[in-house]
C-alpha cells in the first residue's frame, strides 16, 4: 500500500531523515518507534506532504506522493492524525468531523452523516459532545475527535502521530484498543509512538528509527523480544 525507498528529507539545511526504506501492507498496524528527535514525526509529515523530501521515492497505492501537494493526499486515501491532536478549537465536534469529510463532499450529505454515525459509534463520548466546541474537550476526547475526523475521509491508510501524548494511562489503553478495532475492521494504520511498549504490543510490524535511519525492523513480537530494543526503548536491563 505504502512503499518508501531511500527517502531523505528535513527542514532546509537540517537533514533529519537519511535513507529511509519501509513499507506498509493493507490491513496491518505498522509502528515506528524511536527516541525524541529520531525523525518519526518528520517521516509522517513527509508522507503527508507537509515537509518536502530531498530525495528518494514514496509511493501510495501506485501514486508518487512526493510530487503531490499536501492537500491532495487525503483525497488519495492517506490521512494523518497530527501530533498534539490539532482539533479546530473554535468549531464544534460535529463541524470538526464534517471538515474531516471535506474530500468526500461529492458523496453527498447523507453519506457524510452516515459516516459520522459510525464515528459516534466508535467514540460514543463524541456523540454526547457533538455541539460542544472542540477546544473545551479533554485531551483524550480531543484525541478521539482527531481520530474520528481523520476517519471521516474513509482513508485506506491512517497515520497517527503520537496518539498517547499527554494522556492518562487509562485513556491511552482505550485509544490503543480502538486502533486495534480499526485494524480488525480492515483499516491500515501507521502508528508513530514514543510509548514503544504499548505500540509494539498492538502492532503487526515495527521499525526502529534512530537519528534518521531505520536501525531495526521486523515483526512486532521479535522487536519486543529484541534485547537492544528492550534496553533502549523499554527501559529493561538484560537480566531483567
Amino acid at each position: 500500500m505504502l512503499k518508501i525507498r531511500n527517502l531523505a528529507s528535513g527542514y532546509g539545511k537540517i537533514k533529519v531523515l537519511k535513507n529511509i526504506s519501509m513499507h506498509v501492507n493493507p490491513g496491518e498496524i505498522v509502528t515506528i518507534i524511536g527516541a525524541n528527535g529520531a525523525g518519526k514525526t518528520t517521516l509522517l509529515s513527509t508522507i503527508a506532504g507537509l515537509v518536502k523530501a530531498n530525495s528518494g521515492e514514496a509511493e501510495f497505492k501506485g501514486t508518487n506522493i512526493l510530487k503531490t501537494k499536501a492537500a491532495a493526499i487525503p483525497g488519495l486515501g492517506c490521512v494523518m492524525v497530527p501530533e498534539g491532536r490539532q482539533v479546530f478549537a473554535t468549531m464544534t465536534v460535529e463541524e470538526n468531523l464534517l471538515l474531516g469529510g471535506h474530500v468526500l463532499q461529492k458523496e453527498g450529505n447523507r453519506f457524510l452523516s452516515r459516516l459520522m454515525d459510525y464515528q459516534y459509534e466508535l467514540f460514543p463520548i463524541l456523540r454526547d459532545r457533538r455541539d460542544q466546541l472542540a477546544g473545551t474537550l479533554s485531551g483524550g476526547e480531543q484525541q478521539m475527535l482527531a481520530m474520528g475526523r481523520a476517519l471521516m475521509s474513509k482513508p485506506s491508510l491512517v497515520m497517527m502521530d503520537e496518539p498517547s501524548t499527554g494522556l492518562a494511562p487509562l485513556i491511552v489503553k482505550e485509544i490503543f484498543q480502538i486502533i486495534v478495532r480499526l485494524r480488525d475492521e480492515g483499516n491500515t494504520v501507521l502508528l508513530v509512538e514514543q510509548n514503544a511498549k504499548a505500540a509494539l504490543g498492538i502492532a503487526d510490524r515495527g521499525y526502529v528509527l534512530e537519528t534518521g535511519k531505520v536501525i531495526l525492523q521486523g515483526p512486532a513480537d521479535d522487536l519486543l523480544a529484541n534485547q537492544d530494543v528492550q534496553r533502549a526503548y523499554l527501559g529493561r536491563e538484560k537480566n531483567d
Binding site: A71, P74, L99, H102, S153
Partner: protein, 358 residues
C-alpha cells in the same frame, strides 16, 4: 433558501426605516443610509476574509478605489479625440460606448457604465489574484504589512495620475442606468430608489455570504483560521481557498466602489486612503470578526454616524480609538459583551460564581 428567509426581517427593517423617515420628514437620512449600505457591502466581504478565513487585509480601501476610480474615469473621460483608434471604434460598434454632450454642449463619447462596471470589477479581481498569490503566503503581521503596502500604492497612484484627477479626484460621474427607469445617481428625485438599490445589493451580498459560510467552503475557511496545517492535513486546499476568499472580498469592495461613486457622482483620493482601510478593519472587529450580522450592523451604524458628521473632525481618531477599545475589552466583538449577563454579574455578585467565563 433558509438564508433567504433569514434576511427577510432585515428587509422589513429597511422598509420600516423608509417609512419612518418619510413620516418624520427626515428623508435626508436615506442618503447616508444608502452610502452606509455600500460601505457595509465592502465590510461583509472583508468580514468573511478576516473573521472566517482569518486573513487580515489592510488594503481593502485600495480595491474599493480600483472599482470606484476605474468606473469614474471610464465613464467621464471623453474618447472623442480617439474616435479613429481601432480599439475605440470596435468598442463603439460593440455598443459599449455612449455618445452625449457635456455641460458646454460639446460632443463626448464615454464608456457605458455597465461596461465600465464590468471592467472595474474584473480589474479589481485580477489585481487581487496577482497580489494575493504571493501575499497570502504570509501570516499575521507580515500579511497586514504587505496588504498595507498595497493600499498605499493604490492611494499614491490615484494621487499621482492625471487620468485619475490627482488630488481633486474625478467628478461629474454620470448616473449608472441599471434598467430603464432605475439608475444609480445622486439626484434628489432618485433618492428612494437608490436607497432600495443599495440595500437590495447589500441583501443579495448578505444571502450569498451567509450561504457560503454555512457550506463546506465555510467550514474549510474556519478550519484554515484554526490551523493552516491541520486543514491541509484534512485535504483542504488552503492556499486556493485563501486566494478565492481574498478575490471574493476584493470583488465586493470593487462593486461597492463602483456603485458609491456613481451615487456620489465622483470619487476622491481619500477613498483610497490607508485610514479608510483601518476603519474597515475596525468595523469588522467591532462586529465580532467571525460574525456577518455583527459586521453588517456595525458597518451600517458606524458609517452612518461618521457620514452624519457625528464624530466631527475626530472621525479617523474615533475609529482608531474604537479599534483599541475593542481589542482591549471585547476582542470577540461588541455583540459578545452580553451586557445583560454582565449587569447581572455586577448586581448579584457572589451568586453566580460559575458564570465567570464570558
Amino acid at each position: 433558501m433558509k438564508k433567504l428567509l433569514s434576511v427577510l426581517p432585515l428587509l422589513a427593517v429597511v422598509i420600516g426605516i423608509h417609512f419612518l423617515a418619510s413620516a418624520t420628514d427626515t428623508m435626508y437620512y436615506l442618503t447616508q443610509m444608502t452610502m452606509s449600505a455600500y460601505y457595509a457591502l465592502l465590510i461583509i466581504g472583508l468580514c468573511v476574509l478576516m473573521g472566517y478565513a482569518g486573513q487580515i487585509s489592510l488594503g481593502h480601501a485600495g480595491f474599493f478605489a480600483i472599482g470606484g476610480y476605474l468606473s469614474a474615469a471610464l465613464t467621464t473621460h471623453s474618447l472623442v479625440s480617439y474616435q479613429d483608434n481601432a480599439v475605440v471604434s470596435f468598442l463603439d460598434s460593440a455598443g459599449m460606448l455612449l455618445a452625449g454632450h457635456d455641460l458646454y454642449g460639446e460632443a463626448i463619447l464615454v464608456v457605458s457604465p455597465w461596461a465600465a462596471c464590468i471592467v472595474a470589477v474584473c480589474t479589481a479581481a485580477i489585481i487581487a489574484v496577482v497580489i494575493g498569490i504571493p501575499v497570502l503566503k504570509l501570516k499575521g503581521h507580515y500579511l497586514a504589512m504587505a496588504t498595507l503596502g498595497f493600499g498605499i500604492i493604490i492611494y499614491r497612484v490615484a494621487l499621482a495620475l492625471e487620468y485619475f484627477g490627482e488630488a481633486d479626484g474625478i467628478s461629474e460621474v454620470p448616473a449608472f442606468v441599471l434598467l430603464p427607469g432605475l439608475s444609480v445617481s445622486g439626484n434628489f428625485s432618485d433618492r428612494v430608489q437608490n436607497y432600495y438599490i443599495a440595500w437590495g445589493l447589500l441583501l443579495i451580498g448578505m444571502v450569498l455570504l451567509l450561504n457560503l459560510i454555512d457550506s463546506r467552503v465555510g467550514r474549510a475557511l474556519r478550519g484554515i483560521h484554526g490551523s493552516d496545517e491541520a486543514a491541509d492535513a484534512m485535504g483542504v486546499n488552503t492556499s486556493g481557498f485563501k486566494l478565492q476568499t481574498f478575490v471574493l472580498s476584493a470583488v465586493f469592495a470593487a462593486i461597492a466602489g463602483v456603485f458609491l461613486t456613481h451615487y456620489n457622482g465622483g470619487i476622491g483620493p481619500s477613498e483610497a486612503g490607508v485610514m479608510k482601510s483601518v476603519r474597515y478593519v475596525a468595523i469588522v472587529a467591532v462586529g465580532g470578526m467571525a460574525h456577518l450580522w455583527g459586521a453588517l450592523l456595525m458597518g451600517i451604524v458606524l458609517n452612518f454616524l461618521s457620514l452624519r458628521g457625528v464624530f466631527g473632525s475626530y472621525d479617523d481618531a474615533v475609529f482608531g480609538l474604537i479599534l483599541i477599545l475593542i481589542m482591549l475589552f471585547a476582542p470577540n466583538g461588541i455583540l459578545s459583551l452580553n451586557i445583560r449577563h454582565r449587569l447581572k454579574q455586577l448586581l448579584g455578585r457572589g451568586k453566580t460564581d460559575k458564570e465567570g467565563e464570558v
